[in-house]
Symmetry: C2
Subunit: 191 residues, 2 copies
Amino acid sequence: MDELKARILSEGKILPGHIIKVGSFLNHQVDTALMGRMADEFARHFDISKITKILTIEASGIALAAVCSYKWGIPLLFAKKAKSDNIENGLFCSEIYSYTYKKNVTVMVESELLLPEDRVLIMDDFLANGEAIRGLTDLVKEAGATLEGIGIAVEKGFQGGGDRFRKAGIDIYSLAVIESTEDDGTINFRN
Amino acid sequence: MDELKARILSEGKILPGHIIKVGSFLNHQVDTALMGRMADEFARHFDISKITKILTIEASGIALAAVCSYKWGIPLLFAKKAKSDNIENGLFCSEIYSYTYKKNVTVMVESELLLPEDRVLIMDDFLANGEAIRGLTDLVKEAGATLEGIGIAVEKGFQGGGDRFRKAGIDIYSLAVIESTEDDGTINFRN
């Protein structure tokens, strides 16, 4: 999506460790008008009429998923993160490794909110190594629901998470895939 | 707001400790169509044309604030929570006590995203003791910005947080104020 790539180039900052900061419009301050146009772009790729539930994970994925949910009239469900010793009954859970927190985190949804008949679109603002998304696909499997696809705003292609889902035959669509970043701050997108 | 009160009565569950669970439509699964109508109700109370920024806090406030931001065409900024030893430069910070996590948590926004000329509407899905909202008002003060008001979906009136802001002369509008809950699960709203 050209508009998103242009915003990443004009406002993104590269920090040490290939961290890409886009907090001025994506995941701290949020340009929800841009997100509305991102929803339109996702709707050109996915057959939205099939989707019964949008699944994301707290925190920063919620803004994008909420705007898509509102525009499409499809309920949103966001998975919560918890310490493993704090899990109640009636939950679907998956353990992921959080590179942000450098520890294992349990992602969970209440089992009564994700049903076998649900056709799920997983969404998130960022995909890097893919651990968070892998956790969400686990929850969909645990529920016996159908995964219709994965919609991502910004994928860090060089970290390989997205390509692992592609190789597994999952319909994953990222609006901007960053192939590499250079020491001088240059950002190269995948074609 | 009658529709919200009706949903709380039909779907809300009272857990021990006066915890009110509304995860089927407000803060786990999210009915964003309802949130669109909540945005309309807030817009009847607040002069939205004055607002330059919506400020909320991760995680569950983001969905409501994102839908309002999208409908009103006003940028959204969500404060992040961090451990106190993890604070960089260039941030406005406030320490709050989290009753959920039973410890102090630092809430923060990047200082370049909250400006002295900003006219801020603080929004959240829940208000109980008011610590999170107090932290957000601190950030607004620190930025030298103007607080135009506070918009809340569900206020637990019996915990006193909302009334403290009212006494301080802040324009706070909660769409449903729960005055008390009873042992048999009855929920009483404030008139």
